[in-house]
Symmetry: C2
Subunit: 330 residues, 2 copies
Amino acid sequence: MPEKAIIAVDALGGDNAPDVVLDGVAQALAADADLTVILCGPDEVVTPFAAAHERCVAQPCTEAISMGEHPAQAVRKKKDSSIVVGCRLVKEGAAQGFFSAGSTGACLAAATLVMGRAKGVARPALATVIPSPVRPVVMCDVGANADCKPEYLVQFARMGSVYAQKMLGIESPRVALLNIGEEEEKGSQFAQEAHKLMREKVPNFAGNAEGGDVLAATFDVFVTDGFTGNVCLKTIEGTSKVLFKTLKGIMMGSLSAKLGALALKGGLTELKTQVSADTYGGAPLLGVKGACIVGHGSSSALAVRNGVLVSARQVREGVSELIAQTASAS
Amino acid sequence: MPEKAIIAVDALGGDNAPDVVLDGVAQALAADADLTVILCGPDEVVTPFAAAHERCVAQPCTEAISMGEHPAQAVRKKKDSSIVVGCRLVKEGAAQGFFSAGSTGACLAAATLVMGRAKGVARPALATVIPSPVRPVVMCDVGANADCKPEYLVQFARMGSVYAQKMLGIESPRVALLNIGEEEEKGSQFAQEAHKLMREKVPNFAGNAEGGDVLAATFDVFVTDGFTGNVCLKTIEGTSKVLFKTLKGIMMGSLSAKLGALALKGGLTELKTQVSADTYGGAPLLGVKGACIVGHGSSSALAVRNGVLVSARQVREGVSELIAQTASAS
């Protein structure tokens, strides 16, 4: 039997909040009988929902942080926003994890400022599970730290490895540095220094990877600065989107194509599910004291459901605690 | 009637040289009656081929630069290698352009050292046409300069714009900076400074782009440092490759799927051609005195054919001269 898990959820996160969030939370509660959700948002939204759902507690808040606001400023100013309140619930021990499909920047700022960094972690990093049809892989950082020092990447490698072990069940994850050539002397000054440090300090370091290796799942964990990682992640998502859209056009192009497409429907639906970001529900911020998962702004109810369930699993697997142990031991 | 064009070709470039190169050159000569090729390589390879083909001149060389060699050292040492000789033919005016599917680094080093930088160009940059099913777009730099100063990107924007105008026929190309958010304050310190400079100095600058915008062709020219550009390019190629391979697996999965796939074959073949790097034959090095196009190491004969033809078109369109004018005027 899984342990109980208590996850704070931002009812206002995402382009289609609160409806999609409420729908996703209801699905998550139905899927996991040991899950409790503390729903943070306007009283008129969260109180009736909590009253109508078992294991859901309302946490009314009076403020909201929108996508356009300056993250750190908004977090400092809006102490009663759903994002800040959700992180505070984790800090105070009322919840063990926090999920939001709202402003990534505000979630990162709130988690870092309110939950706090794990001891020994210089920079918390945003990781993500890249949904590859080969097998899922982890990339870290995908946007929390646009400017990095090479030594941060050593920590990203360790945190990403813990995540791959615990959440993907890969016992000995092979870690690669995202670079522009296989040879160790390849890449920018930064990449060369990061390679050297990782070679020294990351026992499961397997060398340089290139952009094409990510979806091909040549390695298990791809380590990079948040700028390159974000470009790479969005390039994968955008490339898949354009190719699927073009494919759809081809399949609708004629009657015979439509009939042909019918025969492939099962396989294609499976592939679309495999490569959909919705399957993994969000990106975990690693290196803070508690679980914090940030979903896409465009999250569907399914993505919210999965994001909440992944948050609960991350809590049960003790990912944050293990990262803190690893960081303070090194 | 197109003007005559003389292109030096490295017979030793690529994983399947010289056979694939000779095949591609023969196809290019057949396709363009005003093209002359000077074929650089071992006497026993180039002399019989030139004897058997009209408008092909042999340029025997005694040395070869392999993929694994240190580019700049190899170029300095091997004065009689096919790459150095090809670039020297351009420098001396015997040829107007050079094509190789060999070591990218060696081609860049040879073109820069032997042909020389165009006046006013701080750093020549490797551009590429990204084959999108929406419409082709230009990305620059995709790997010549892993470390950049923000001001280089202003030049990449200008050079990329000239290339889009002349080679893709886009009269007023919209230039974007590859970044990790649309807002101008987004991104690394480097990206923020580059954004500010481009805003000031590039009249056709249209703002920030994200990784997903490249294949979606949201803009015409994507400007970036060579590290990020290379990761992005290889991510697009690798993502397409994995998705096509998975799709093929689905189509071969059952008899009904095989039959269904038959009805889609025409459309899928067209899509594969559209997104194939072979269609554009290679990446031009912009900002040197002459045309220099570098093909993929895995170039097929078709890719070599297209690379040679694109080199000839670049010569006829006067791309290098226009870039030199633009650079020295600014």
